[in-house]
Symmetry: C2
Subunit: 246 residues, 2 copies
């Protein structure tokens, strides 16, 4: 029974998140339906990251266990054909080795958060960036972001509904850069808590707007209290851009 | 009576082209309605380029003659507020000098054509790129494109419905480059014939795919015959990115 590894891109606007939910369109259901249409097999996909409603991906990783063996190229081509016109694309399919698992073998996740930081609202990038009109001080954001790197109790930056047993996470990277009219925030960790990236981004935007100082961000982190978090940044600026495996 | 110059971005998917047409959504009507909502004045906009259905803009230039004088910043802010949620944004407004005219004073137009050239179809960029699966030889495209530069009778690359009196145009720039998974074609001229950029792009894609040689493109140009044109590239990969004024 071969296991196929799928590298996937999707536009989060079209879905109520990655995970299948009865009666609501999801990325998982779209791909599972395409697998059924192509192979006749009803399977359950496993995913490296369960992205929320509106969150995009350019590097989601999934796996599918199929009874029948197909050339990997056939799998990606057939799935893409069946996914039309939904905004989901299989960028690559390959046969996984040994007991590799899309979720449990993952050793790192990378997210990008895009802020459109200009006077005019987005036209071409509606639903793909967070529009922040007030000029953001990216230097101040970058400096403050360094306080988040390392192992911390991220209770402040975790959704109250987060199912993870521990609020401890190790943030390996928190980078802020201006790219034309946009501010990009890059985050990397072995794993993230629910809404952690959007919570950290919203609080860093407070620093960028001058409403918080770096010390306020540190105090928020150290409070280990969800109510100390800044406004949570919206889902539609967030992209799962990559998953690392050893 | 002040004349306001407007720099405009829009997503062409939402409109039946720039120009107002009874009963169909257009960029022109959207902005004229926003002007009326803001100022109470019913005016007719003038545009540097009349983009087709599905064609996008990041640098369209318009002008609006208003009876009342407003600070330019007020005009852009008020129009953006009234344009929500339509995918049109006024990037900048300024008061025009002398007899400056958005269309007649323009001395150059720049277009970008985006081709997504990878195996997988677009997910995040659906409706914003032309998806060409077969790998394109951008070197061959760039070399062939040079034959289009200069003053030519572009009858081959002009829509049969084109209203321009002369088929002669002077192409100042035709550049082809690979940008990640995309192929970008840049064109600049004082003005273009109807569907000229999409016609040239479609024919250059034939060269990139190896179905045409450079000599075939030259023969097509020299034929001065619309039927000699390659397949016209779709509207949704095209962007009006800038207008030049002396």
């Amino acid at each position: 029974m071969p296991r196929y590894r799928l590298l996937v891109e999707y536009d989060g606007r079209a879905f109520h998140g990655y995970q299948a939910q009865a009666g609501l369109p999801s990325v998982q259901e779209a791909i599972e339906d395409a697998i059924f249409a192509f192979s006749g097999e009803r399977i359950r996909l496993q995913a490296a990251g369960r992205t929320d409603t509106g969150v995009h991906a350019t590097g989601q990783v999934l796996h599918a266990d199929l009874q029948k063996t197909w050339p990997a190229r056939t799998v990606s081509e057939a799935l893409n054909a069946h996914l039309v016109p939904q905004p989901v694309a299989i960028l690559e399919a390959s046969v996984a080795e040994g007991d590799w698992h899309a979720r449990f073998s993952a050793t790192g996740r990378r997210y990008l958060y895009r802020i459109l930081n200009r006077r005019a609202p987005p036209a071409l990038d509606q639903g793909r960036v967070w529009y922040v009109k007030k000029p953001l001080d990216t230097g101040a954001m970058l400096e403050a972001a360094q306080a988040l790197i390392g192992t911390h109790d991220f209770t402040t930056f975790r959704d109250v509904g987060c199912q993870a047993k521990s609020p401890l996470r190790t943030l390996d990277e928190a980078r802020v850069e201006r790219v034309g009219e946009e501010v990009h925030l890059h985050f990397a960790a072995r794993s993230f808590l629910h809404r952690q990236v959007r919570s950290m981004t919203g609080s860093l935007a407070e620093v960028g707007a001058g409403r918080w100082r770096r010390e306020d961000l540190i105090a928020a982190l150290e409070a280990r209290d969800r109510t100390a978090c800044g406004p949570v940044a919206p889902a539609h600026g967030l992209y799962l851009i990559g998953v690392a495996y050893d």
